[in-house]
Symmetry: C2
Subunit: 414 residues, 2 copies
Amino acid sequence: MSRAGIAIDPDRLMARIRKLGEIGALPGGGVCRLALTEEDRAGRDLLVGWMRELGLEVRIDAIGNIFGLRRGREEGPPVMTGSHIDTVRTGGLYDGALGVLAGLEIVETLDRAGIGTRHPLVIAAFTNEEGARFPPDMMGSLVHVGALALEDALATRGIDGETVGACLERIGYAGDAPVGRPEARAFVELHIEQGPVLEREGVTIGAVEGVQGISWQALSLRGRSAHAGATPMAMRRDAGLVAAEIAVFARRLAREIGGDQVATVGSLRLSPDLVNVVPERAELTVDLRHTDDLRLREAERRLSAFAAEAAAREGVEIAFRQLARFAPVAFDPAMVARVEATARRLGRSVRRMPSGAGHDAQIMARVCPTAMIFVPSVGGISHNVEEYTAPEDLAAGAEVLLELLLDLLEGEGA
Amino acid sequence: MSRAGIAIDPDRLMARIRKLGEIGALPGGGVCRLALTEEDRAGRDLLVGWMRELGLEVRIDAIGNIFGLRRGREEGPPVMTGSHIDTVRTGGLYDGALGVLAGLEIVETLDRAGIGTRHPLVIAAFTNEEGARFPPDMMGSLVHVGALALEDALATRGIDGETVGACLERIGYAGDAPVGRPEARAFVELHIEQGPVLEREGVTIGAVEGVQGISWQALSLRGRSAHAGATPMAMRRDAGLVAAEIAVFARRLAREIGGDQVATVGSLRLSPDLVNVVPERAELTVDLRHTDDLRLREAERRLSAFAAEAAAREGVEIAFRQLARFAPVAFDPAMVARVEATARRLGRSVRRMPSGAGHDAQIMARVCPTAMIFVPSVGGISHNVEEYTAPEDLAAGAEVLLELLLDLLEGEGA
């Protein structure tokens, strides 16, 4: 129960999550609602219909971002909440949808209680957060904050060869509102954790301090293929061995740097990949993440040095290619503190934590004070049809969001 | 020049190797003469034609093995030499062909010098040594020694669905001679090394002491896929990491056991194999070989123990599957000593060494005293269109073979 004496309706929230999850539902469970497909159109139509039923003023901009406005007593910049409704190819019901639909639930709660607010409230659904069909991910929020030019975004071709612009036209979401508006006075995103930390620690609410910096590298190794029986060990130039050494080192590196450092070799391919041939080529990726850019750079440096040394030792050529590099994002400390304090006031267990995944909030943080609220993911599973968060945790997150928004909607500052 | 005052003709040997290599020649070099194909038929026809021109009595048995007999002063078991003329899909000119065509060259040399021998000499070309189209490899020699039933061999289906029996009929090499004859008094096979040792050490002749025992295992690892950013290191069950640890251990194991021990992880596949997902599954193969079966068993035991321990440490399930297991073969020590002594007598540098690859000789070793003579492979490359051995090394090998055969053809024992 919030200080205003009101509470969200968990069943109503779940009903909307389930209803949206029927669009693009996969036979065995889960959802496929790739950005700007017919399924995305149907999901958007459902969302916009709900917004209109709740009396929100719907604005669709030129990149297809959807904003539903609930007016306040004063004009001026709104407080914004939301997330996205596109999914990966084998996604779950909660990733993105929770943040948008919790926003609608809060609007409905305020409406039913007859509560007006000083500042306007906007519920946002950003276009193509996943990047699963069109790169880059977080496209809608990047265009919104001016970090990606609208023309470039519209001209982007997807994995099926179609452009963002053509798809937006086809599904009827090439809106006429200029991008970049409304300018929010603050942004809060409720999201599932997508990792196992909250569940393992028995904590309900994550107060997200920031988003990890990400470094993706592809390493190409070229040795010499050779007969696995006839080639003595000392005469080998085994590209597969060097790849394996790098993978083992990546784990050691994460352990030695410690803290939030993570390191993953997710892809590793050998050629010719035959049981009795010493591998001539190996291709592997290394994903390094840390909330502290200095530490992330240290990890990158040490990994590169080790890889070069291991390759040289084996007489294997090595080439590095940066696939992605995002600096860490730190959310506004005052906003993080408000999430934490709000959760405690509502009697919820809470811990500060980084986000390992990317979110629209990290883009919005460039233009306004921003916070994220995490709720537990069972088994840490996400981007998977088995993604699940218990209804009581979804409701707890929505309650914290409601309480925080009420503060922000009445406040002087952000 | 041999003790009999005769010498092989290197140009004639090379001419036959080149002529046979034209059959199934690949556009960019190399040869594709898979067992029992039209190309194999054409190669066999050429070989049988040469045998008949040289006055050999040609015998073709029910598995298609070709034996060309040069009679001796006495009846009785012949001395046999030879190898095979089938190739892998992207083979070279020398693997197999050298051993057969050097036999023909020796017959021609003896004929031209008017030299008769006490015992008969047989030049053999065994069916399907490579196993590249029909398993198992060394099929013709296995049937010859009675280790594989003729009916089973004939019923074997190849990668294209056809049976050995049907193909033998079609190409006209389902011979009427019973398998298992002639019974050789000794067998000698001249072959390219297929590894880099002789070239690197500047040695011309390898006196092969035996064939390494082979252990092939497939390891299946199952952990849990997880978000590469949102999953702390301590909460991972990374199947790819365990696979990499096993690959690194295999190298360490070979180094620690030392001697002839080799260990290769030639195939390693991850799933889902994505840059930002901790691998749920990994499949890898481990190829272990040693000339000493006790050492090979030790290697297998230590590898299995390490793999089980590494998997348990990471919370990953592991399953082992034996793909192949052949015990080492030791050639007759007296025969090995004769190869070595003969090479020295001819002024050739020589070293004892194991064979890392399988050969018909290791099958023949079950029924008669057997030896192999190796000549250098440039770059250790074989089963590859770039396979190459210098003409002078081919000739040196053929000279050692001639000299050794002359001894055996006159000798009391083997």
